[in-house]
């Protein structure tokens, strides 16, 4: 496979990992927001905090990984996207600061009013940030980012039907993934009431996401006919079918079984299908009139970067194994309530 395709594949794997793992973290914040008053929502919040505490920083690595691979691998495309979409991207950046620091501060705070204040900042920015990232995805998918620096419309590029649906879809997907994930986490901790609560939330979020996806297809048909064609009749169709099927199976599993571990897999597949469907549908074009090979960096850069990542993986994999082994120990079912053991579930995201 040619180097640009390998790099793009890695970049898209990074996007996928960020949407799945970072998305579930953001969704945790969404449920934190909707958990109710300080007392009523305490158990939900404790589960959320327990679940994302040790891993959210590592999940940032995926975002940085994507940004760095974008400017290294397809520099002109990165510049075009960042300059035209600087409004939603600046808002995303501010949201990321507010979210991460507020979460760390809440963890370090003991007074109720502080935990409320930092918790509110964390929860609010957990909703706002994926929305703006979603509008960015919608802008690129609907071909509203032309090549060149700041050539696109600064507002219409991200305030348009596709972007708005994508933003809502991003928030919904995050909430859905988090609910599915937390259902199993609560079940494993032996808290059946909390598991049932998150199961209801997962079902509701799943239905909303399914509806939004259907709406999104309708909007794409009017707004981005080329991508719509690829998704419904072209190379991306199998991935769209996979996404829909996995989504339906997820809802069925949630509704009639307690196989929450299996739902994690199908829910992830539903999201992956959508994401890779978009990627395959748009390939080989990155921006209107710009193909991957036109935008790709020189072969020496691609080779050096891919080589460095391969060597880096040799260091990363044993580290991950040790991390996994460390937090597996002593993780019996029934333990882990209220953040007493940050064990295996947290390792999932590495």
């Amino acid at each position: 496979m040619p180097l640009p395709e390998i790099l793009l594949g890695l970049l898209w794997i990074g996007v996928t990992a960020y949407v799945l793992f970072g998305g579930a973290d953001f969704g945790g914040g969404v449920w934190d927001l909707l958990a109710g008053g300080a007392e009523r929502g305490a158990r939900q919040r404790a589960l959320v905090e327990h679940s994302i505490g040790p891993v959210w920083e590592a999940n940032h690595v995926w975002l940085i990984f994507v940004i760095v691979l974008a400017w290294t691998g397809v520099p002109s495309v990165f510049a075009a996207v960042a300059s035209t979409l600087y409004v939603p991207l600046t808002l995303t950046a501010l949201g990321i600061i507010a979210r991460g620091s507020a979460f760390a501060f809440r963890k370090a705070s003991t007074l109720l009013w502080q935990r409320r204040l930092f918790g509110a900042a964390f929860a609010f920015s957990s909703v706002v940030t994926p929305f703006f990232l979603g509008t960015v995805a919608g802008a690129i998918a609907s071909g509203r980012v032309p090549p060149g620096i700041a050539e696109g419309d600064l507002t219409a590029s991200w305030l348009n039907p596709t972007s708005l649906v994508s933003g809502a879809l991003a928030v919904g997907t995050a909430a859905y993934l988090a609910a599915v994930y937390l259902t199993r986490d609560a079940q494993r901790a032996g808290d059946t009431a909390l598991a049932a609560a998150f199961r209801r939330r997962a079902l509701a979020a799943g239905v909303v996401v399914g509806g939004l996806s259907a709406l999104g297809l309708a909007v794409l048909r009017a707004d981005a006919p080329r991508l719509f064609g690829q998704l419904t009749t072209g190379a991306a169709l199998p991935l769209l079918v996979l996404s829909v099927a996995a989504g339906v199976v997820s809802l069925a599993l949630l509704a009639w079984t307690r196989a929450y571990l299996a739902v994690r897999v199908t829910a992830a597949l539903a999201v992956v299908g959508l994401l890779w469907g978009w990627g395959v549908g748009q390939y080989p074009h990155l921006l209107p009139g710009v193909t991957l090979h036109e935008a790709a960096a020189t072969p020496a850069v691609l080779a050096a970067t891919l080589g460095a990542l391969a060597v880096g993986a040799l260091l990363l994999v044993p580290s991950l194994v040790w991390l996994y082994a460390t937090f597996q120990r002593g993780d019996a079912p029934g333990e882990g309530e209220n953040g007493s053991t940050p064990v295996a579930p947290d390792v999932r995201k590495y």
Binding site: I64, W71, T72, F78, I97, A104, S109, A300, T305
Partner: protein, 454 residues
Amino acid sequence: MDVFVADAVNAQNLMAARLQMALSLGWHIIVACLGVGMPAITLIAEWRGHRTGDPHLRLLARRWAKAMGVLFAVGAVSGTILSFEMGLLWPGLMGTYGEVIGLPFALEGIAFFIEAIFLGIYLYAWDRMPPVPHLLSGIPIVVAGVASAFFVVTANAWMQQPTGFDTREGRVTAVEPWAAMFNPATPPQTVHMILAAFMVAGFSMAAVYAVAMLRGRRDRYHRLGFLIPFTVAAVVTPVQIGVGDWAAHFVAENQPVKLAAMEGVFETERAVPLHLGGVAVDGELRYALEIPYGLSLLAHWNPHAEIAGLNEVPAAEHPPVNIVHWAFQIMVGLGFALLALAVWQWWAWWRRRDLPRSPWFLRAAALSGVAAVVALEAGWTVTEVGRQPWIVYGVMRTAEAVNPAPGLVYGFAGVAAVYAVLTVATVYVLRRMAREKPVPVAPQERDVTDYKVV
């Protein structure tokens, strides 16, 4: 590209972008320095605590580790923002040269990943692991932290000494990413930065305990809390002075215009004096104290050596002389003041195995943290403002790199507001944490309450 400079909207944009970058990088650099230096100092305390069984050392290690957790979090998010801003503010740079400096950032990503993994183990597995493996799990944090600093600074060094590429018709060709990364400015700049990180961490941590000791808390806990970080900083400082001299020689050889701005030299001359203080007005440096032959001697080891002046390049290519000149003086002055403080401690230790008895020592030490941070910011100002108007020295102007989209000034206002809140909250949370009695490193460690030493 004078068209850009002439354009009023773009001039405003450029200033907003530069201020936003200065604010977010200037903020991140402090937290990042603590992130590089604190793990090593914490590990020293933990290691000594394990060897001696001293509960004071073990409590210090716990508390520092907990603060590290918070600082690592704000460092991670403020660093993420910088990677956004590379594109939001400087698309002209990244669109053309992103691929040339991509490699060190990819390597930095790997180092950051390793840091995050081992920080997770170190913080969350404290009571799940025997002491020695736990101690060992901290070592990758130190190594990866230093490596991150190295990789990031190589990218900045490339902007000072761009090598490893050709340009044809506005597109870069024949990129050699390793040559770009290991450019001539890489050795002095990276070493200078990494040592600065240890100075900032050491003096800042020591300053906290110096303040407590001035308030009368002179027990073993506070003495050790002062001595460990201060000793690390006191060992690093003289090395840093030497490395600073190396870095200045490098600038004299390779960025003569920057040196001229640092020293306020307007005309190319031989036997140039060293200027202390002074203000640049109308193309000359006034009111400065002159040390004859000083600059020629320092820069080239020859009292009659020629020093290039700002007159070698057109006025449009002059960096802002007063800012660069004063930033350089502040950095050097504070560096020597910190060296004097370190010597004071060595002297007392050599004579009596104790801290200096004068209260002035503690008063000075209480200010050393702020002094180290100011020196850091001043040094970084010299590096970055001294390079202006170039974003890539001699190759691309900052005005060519900036995002021409209107309204960057609003983005700057938003970022400034968020950083103001972030600063207040960070300081507040750290101060509260320092006083808390049970010291859980992570939330699950509520069982750790049995620290009777404070």
